[in-house]
């Protein structure tokens, strides 16, 4: 799957360079949105990016670009100093007066949706494709993506026929400490459901948890997203800081999985299907491999 994405990206890059001379397309891009930057790269536009915001962490190479700060606290002159022709971002981008200043300087400002919905992604990709001059590639990328999501859904339905949906808690932490539980109305909640889990947390948004209520929930699966640590160190830190978690059925059965926290911001990104697959395999260990 990954290879095909790469091949697609390569085709896109070749075609984009071919078409660019034909139409007047913006050549200097600033992106203020993690998932958007990823899509620009996937569509072969990475070379056009001259600046990204702090939520743009993937692909790794973007970190070398000048940082324009957090998407909600942009600076007009800072962005203008990069001499961009276009600024892209989600509806979270701001503050509005700064966007107005950037527009009045003749920079095209394009807004995209950060909703975790396929329809929003389709619109976004089409729009990006037009702006990058790689519409066919955008359509191809979208249909692959849609297929992956649908296959995923079918797999989950199948798995659920043989096994009850597991109760899941998603824990967002910082080096294990001060963990927050992902409740309703979050990207994390959407992810859990998409992977076939049942989110046990019923509150809205990300909230700190009381150990007592947690003990009563007895999750079958724990998913952790740590902003500071990764892998085994993050897991160890989480259990060290919150010993109560070690007594949950999930921890006893060893069903504790990691999630990249950057997937939780800015809408549907290209790395999502891969992560969903991993998560759902963890949710349904008995089901046939995807």
């Amino acid at each position: 799957m990954r290879l095909s994405t790469r091949v697609a990206a390569l085709c896109v890059a070749l075609l984009a360079s071919h078409q660019a001379s034909a139409v007047e397309l913006p050549q200097r891009w600033v992106s203020a949105g993690g998932a958007l930057s990823e899509w620009v790269s996937a569509l072969g536009g990475e070379a056009k990016l001259v600046g990204v915001d702090t939520t743009s962490q993937h692909p790794e190479s973007l970190k070398a670009l000048p940082s324009i700060g957090y998407q909600r606290a942009l600076s007009a002159e800072g962005i203008l100093s990069l001499r961009p022709q276009i600024l892209i971002g989600t509806e979270e981008m701001g503050p509005p007066p700064v966007l107005a200043q950037i527009r009045s300087a003749g920079v095209q400002v394009e807004l995209f949706s950060a909703q975790p919905e396929l329809s929003a992604l389709q619109t976004n990709l089409q729009h990006l494709g037009q702006l990058l001059g790689s519409e066919t590639q955008a359509t191809a990328l979208y249909s692959t993506y849609q297929q992956q999501i649908e296959q995923q859904k079918a797999w989950v339905t199948q798995a659920q026929s043989g096994q009850k949906a597991p109760g899941v808690l998603l824990i967002l932490g910082h080096a294990g400490g001060k963990p927050l539980i992902a409740g309703k109305d979050t990207a994390a909640d959407w992810l859990i459901q998409q992977a076939g889990g049942r989110n046990l947390a019923s509150q809205n948004g990300y909230k700190p948890f009381s150990t007592e209520s947690l003990a009563g929930l007895s999750p079958d699966v724990l998913v952790f997203a740590d902003r500071a640590l990764t892998g085994e160190t993050a897991k160890a830190a989480l259990f060290k800081e919150n010993p109560i978690l070690a007594n949950t059925p999930a921890a006893k059965a060893g069903r504790v999985y990691e999630l990249d926290p950057t997937l939780l911001v800015g809408g549907l990104g290209p790395r999502l299907p891969e992560s969903l697959k991993k998560l759902s395999s963890g949710f349904y260990p008995g089901a046939p491999a995807q």
């Binding site: 600046g51 702090t54 000048p66 940082s67 324009i68 700060g69 957090y70 909600r72 606290a73 942009l74 600076s75 007009a76 002159e77 800072g78 962005i79 203008l80 100093s81 990069l82 979270e92 503050p95 509005p96 007066p97 700064v98 107005a100 200043q101 009045s104 300087a105 109305d185 979050t186 809205n204 948004g205 990300y206 909230k207 911001v265």
Partner: protein
Amino acid sequence: MRPLLKPRVLFIGLSLLCLLAIWLSLALGPVSLPLLDTLRAALRMLGVPIAAQGLEQAELILGQIRLPRTLLGLAVGGVLALSGVAMQGLFRNPLADPGLVGVSSGAALGAAIAIVGGSAFGGLPESFGPYLLSLFAFIGGLGVTALVYRLGRRNGQTNVATMLLAGIALTALAGSAVGLFTYLADDATLRTLTFWNLGSLNGASYARLWPLLLVSVAVALWLPRRAKALNALLLGESEASHLGIDVERLKRELVFCTALGVGAAVAAAGMIGFVGLVVPHLVRLLAGPDHKVLLPASILAGASLLLFADLVARLALAPAELPIGIVTAFIGAPFFLFLLLRGRA
């Protein structure tokens, strides 16, 4: 403590410093403009007929971004420092700052209501959002201050000690309400709230600037006229009234000016700490406690400090930007400590 500087020397020094700050604030930024272009664009804006050719960018950056930002910095810095003097004079306490009468915490509460409440009601129209935030912050600041003042009054007298305690209580109350809103906020609004609490001169526009400019000019003209009364108040309330000062009226004016000025400043630029508390001290260390010097000098010093802090804020991490609240304390506090230790030796 013997003043380090004569008033005249202080005023000349501070005026030069302030002019330098204004010039740097107009001339420097993430976009590097040639000095000549900046000068020509500035002259053009002043009405000198110069060909516009090649100046479009300079004019835009100077006129639409740097000038409103500089004016905002001047007004906010000046009015915060001036309110600090007023509060320290009113409470006859060097630890007093404009936050003490509840204006900052009230403004923070107003802002939290606007930010969190706004998003709870399905988001506000984009063009209206920022104005609502400013309006709520201003109303919140004024409202809580009015309440503090009201609580401090008994039998037609304003008891400063009661007012101070009422201010502390209401600040705590407003703080817990802000905490509740923080808890209720979702991720995105939480970030907005955090950044608002750190303050910024970013995104200054003329539309939002005028109300603040009017208020700060009014306060800056009014308060220095009360310098003599403030000097008398230093001796004590009864002494001041024996000297023929209408103390009740003075208190009312001080509280009102502070609420108005700080309310407008916070509404326009968010919470910017440190300036109101320390700039008056700084000036006092340099030139002594005479309010005739202290009031106008604090305006100049506060404005300069804020402009320099803003320069650091916009240049340090360019093209990104630091919240200015971080910078004011970072450059102001070591300087203040230096003066303090020097004064002791």
